[in-house]
C-alpha cells in the first residue's frame, strides 16, 4: 500500500514536472548585452531602449506575454541561455552555423553588415593584410567580427579584445587602437557621430563570406524550446505584415539605408 502510494506520488511529481516543461510561456526573460547603440542602450534617464528592445517588447505584446530583459555581457550570453538565466537572446546576434549548433534561431529579423572604422587620418582606403600590417585592431570578444579578424589578420596585426563595445570606443578615442571592426550601425552611432575625433568607414561594408557573417540577426532559444521560437516567428511575421516593424525600423535607422 505504502509502495503504491509512493509510486503514485512519484507519478504525480513527474506529471507536474512535465506540465511545467510544456508550460504556456507567460513570462519570458530575454538576455541582452547593453550597450550596443542603437540596437540596445540606455537613455540618459537610464531607460533601456533600442531597436531590439522596442521590437522585442512589441513581439511580447502580440504574444500576450510579459517580457523581462536580463543584462548579460556578450562573451557569456550563450552559456547564460543554456544555464536558464533567461529563455531567449535578442541582442544583435547574427545567425551562423557555428551558433546553430548551440542554439535555435528565430527567422532573421534584420540584416546588418559589418564595417571597418578608423580615424580619418589613418590613411588607408581598404582593409587588407598589407594595409593592416602592424596595426592594433579592436573587436568585441566572442563576436563574429572577432572570429573574422582572428582568422584573417592575427598573423599581421595585434588584436585587442573587449568585453563591451563601449570600452572599445573609449580606447579608440584614446588612440590606443588604430582601427576597429564592428556592426555598421553601431560604428555609425558611436564613432561616426563622435565629437571626440573624426572617424571614417574604411572600405566597403562587409557581409561576406556567409561562414562568418551569417544570415542576419535572429532571436536565439534553447534547442528544445521550439514552441517558443514558433510563437516569436508568428508574432514577427505579423509585425512585419502590418507595418509596425517599419515604424520601429525608421525610429532607429531613418528612411534611407533600408535593405
Amino acid at each position: 500500500m505504502k509502495k503504491l502510494l509512493s509510486l503514485s506520488l512519484l507519478g504525480l511529481a513527474v506529471a507536474a514536472a512535465s506540465s511545467a516543461q510544456a508550460r504556456d510561456y507567460d513570462n519570458v526573460r530575454i538576455g541582452v548585452d547593453v550597450p550596443y547603440e542603437p540596437m540596445e542602450f540606455r537613455t540618459a534617464e537610464g531607460e533601456l531602449t533600442g531597436f531590439d528592445i522596442d521590437l522585442g517588447n512589441e513581439l511580447c505584446d502580440r504574444m500576450g506575454v510579459t517580457c523581462e530583459w536580463v543584462e548579460q555581457e556578450w562573451d557569456g550570453i550563450i552559456p547564460g541561455l543554456m544555464s536558464r538565466n533567461y529563455d531567449a537572446i535578442m541582442s544583435s546576434m547574427t545567425i551562423n552555423d557555428e551558433r546553430r549548433e548551440q542554439v535555435l534561431f528565430s527567422d532573421p529579423y534584420i540584416t546588418m553588415p559589418s564595417a571597418w572604422f578608423a580615424a580619418s587620418d589613418l590613411g588607408i582606403s581598404e582593409a587588407t593584410e598589407e594595409t593592416l600590417e602592424g596595426m592594433t585592431i579592436g573587436v568585441q570578444r566572442g563576436t563574429l567580427q572577432d572570429n573574422y579578424v582572428t582568422d584573417n589578420f592575427s598573423d599581421v596585426a595585434d588584436i585587442s579584445r573587449y568585453s563591451t563595445a563601449d570600452d572599445m570606443v573609449l580606447d579608440m578615442e584614446a588612440e590606443r587602437l588604430d582601427i576597429v571592426f564592428l556592426d555598421f550601425p553601431i560604428g555609425q552611432s558611436t564613432l561616426l557621430e563622435s565629437e571626440e575625433a573624426e572617424y571614417v568607414v574604411v572600405g566597403e561594408r562587409i557581409s561576406e563570406p556567409k561562414e562568418y557573417f551569417g544570415d542576419g540577426f535572429g532571436i536565439a532559444f534553447r534547442q528544445r524550446d521550439e514552441a517558443l521560437a514558433e510563437k516569436f516567428n508568428e508574432a514577427l511575421a505579423e509585425v512585419q505584415e502590418d507595418g509596425t516593424y517599419d515604424e520601429i525600423y525608421t525610429r532607429y535607422f531613418g528612411e534611407e539605408d533600408a535593405e
Binding site: 548551440q102 570578444r141 566572442g142 582572428t150 585587442s160 579584445r161 580606447d171 578615442e173 590606443r176
Partner: protein, 243 residues
Amino acid sequence: MLDISTWFNDLLAGNTIFTADTLGYYWEGLVTTTQLVFLSLIAGLILAVPLAIMRSSKHKWISLPVYLYTYVFRGTPLLIQLYIIYYGVVFIDGIQETFLWPVLREAFYPALIAFTLNTAAYTTEIFRGAIKATAQGEIEAARAYGMSPRLMMRRIILPSAFRRALPAYGNEVIFMLHASAIASVVTLMDLTGAARFVYARYYAPFEAFLFVAAIYLCLTFAILFFFRYLEKKLLAHLRPQDA
C-alpha cells in the same frame, strides 16, 4: 621534430576546442601572466623595503605619507585601480602628446603599474609588521655594541625581519598571481584572457576554465614549493633540532 608535431596533431585531432591554435593562446597567456606577476613582484619588493623602513619611522612626517599610500592601495579593489590607470588616464588632456603615452598606450604597462603599486602597498605592511616585531633584546644588544641606527637596521633588524616576513610574503605572491586574472579586462591576453577567448569562441565554459584553473594550480604549486625551500633554508635556526 616532425615526429613530435605529427604525434601532437594526432593527439589534438580528437577534440574541437584544444587545437594547436587555442593552446597557442594559452601559451601566450601563460607568458603574459608570468611576466606581469614576476615583474610587478620584483618592482613591488624593491619599492617596499625603503617604504617599510619609512613606515616604521618614529617621525610622523615620514611615516604618515607611506601610511596614506598603503591605506589607499589596500583599501580599494585592484580592479578599480587598474581601471583608473588604464581608462582614467586618457581623460587627462594632452596625455597622448607626452613622453608617458608610449608606455600608457600598451595595455601591459598600465597593468604592470597598477599591480606593482598594489603589491608594494601590501608588502610594505608585511615588512613593517616584521620590523616592529624585532625582539627588543636584539636591538639592545646591537646598541650595546655601539651600532649606529643605520648599521643596526642593515645588520640586525632587516635580516631578521625578512626571515619573519617570508611566510606572509609567500602568501602575497600567490594572491598576486590570482589577482592578475583581472588583466584581461584591459584587453591583455593573459591566462584568464585566453580562457575567456576560448570560452566565448567555443561556448565551452567548463573546458576553457578548468584547463586554465589547472595551469594556475601548477603555478601556485611551484610558488609554494619555492617558498617552502626558502623557509627551510632561511628559517633553519627556528626549527626544533633533531637529535
